[in-house]
Symmetry: C2
Subunit: 203 residues, 2 copies
DNA sequence: GTCTATAAGAAGATAGAC
DNA sequence: GTCTATCTTCTTATAGAC
């Protein structure tokens, strides 16, 4: 990893725990192993590092989504693959989604960082809401709609069904972000959630 | 309101949007209408203001819980009142809980402030997790257990049932914290959630 | 309880040598 | 691309007059 990348990752480490304004350029440089002024040969300002992290995440997310069980691009295509979905498959899907959000270090740190900056400006608020509310809900609603059409699940509002599936995932995820020592409990509760969810919606 | 209280409320206004470290003592004092050094006659440090806010919230929460539909103290007592609970009552309960978390200005601002400081230290992380995860889940699990015993709801894991009831509330709450313009949508989705929840769990 | 003056240091960022 | 030296501004906090 070159110095520019090293700066970005160490800045992210610090921003994601203490927040942008509580971290000094001096501190980032020290962790990298250079002096603060050297850092300005790579980034024109502290804010520039922050923006580089966001850009990197948008790039990385596009790539990850491709290789993912759910492409995240066209839920209608995905849904056709899951029309015959059993309870086990749904469990698999939920776990996979949860583990991606929880175990991809870069994703975790960027989420934490944005969590700490979400009220600063509208762009970041909108970005967070899109990434962790609207996009997953819309996506899963389309998925469940298709599965309802094929009589796997009872006829209910697919958007609310998506909310019922996703909201516990999100709550447990944010719990783990704060208290990583509770990951095991969270994971067990996640399993219990999806199994009970399947029973409730099963036709 | 005296100057000491004024300082606390204005500090909270600023901390809850920009975070503790991004707000200067000078700025707080300016908004209050005094000079920065005068502020130190009321609080011994900036950190001291932060801690005063947390203390004030703990006081206020104890009082609010008393007058609340759910006492928040003994769920077994509460549950007996709700044994005959209908779908409409559950809707009422959910809305009330949601509106308390969303419309009590002090509660909203303190939640936002702690959201921005939650990764700084373990005490704040634990406080957030207790307030917005463990306490509500435990409380509602006990409530639902009693309601299952009296055959109102189908026999399922009461803790997971509590998760199913509460997680969408939390997700919509944090959405409103970021995007207050989406409150109306959130509220409608909340209603749809509780109605569908009732249908799913109804015996 | 407010003010002005000021300390003492840390902040982000630039200039210019190597 | 790294360094030292430096600029300028801002930071928290104190001293002491009124």
């Amino acid at each position: 990893m070159n110095t520019k990348e090293k700066i970005m990752h160490i800045a992210l480490d610090l921003f994601s725990v203490r927040g942008f304004s509580a971290v000094s350029v001096h501190e980032i440089a020290k962790e990298v192993g250079i002096k603060a002024p050297s850092l300005y040969k790579h980034y024109k300002s502290k804010q520039d590092i922050f923006e580089a992290i966001l850009l990197q995440m948008q790039k990385g997310y596009q790539q990850e989504a491709q290789g993912f069980a759910l492409s995240g691009v066209d839920p209608n295509v995905d849904a056709k693959q899951y029309i015959m979905m059993s309870e086990v498959d749904l469990l698999q899907l939920g776990k996979q989604l949860f583990l991606y959000f929880l175990k991809d270090e870069f994703v975790v740190k960027v989420r934490k960082m944005i969590t700490l900056e979400q009220f600063h400006n509208k762009d970041l608020a909108d970005f967070y809401s899109l990434q962790y509310f609207h996009a997953p809900i819309e996506y899963q609603a389309t998925l469940f709609q298709t599965m309802m059409d094929s009589k796997i699940f009872r006829q209910e509002d697919p958007k609310v069904m998506a909310l019922h599936f996703y909201a516990p995932l999100f709550l447990l995820l944010t719990l783990c972000d704060r208290n990583s020592d509770q990951e095991q409990d969270a994971f067990e509760l996640l399993e219990a959630h999806i199994k009970q969810f399947s029973r409730l919606y099963k036709n």
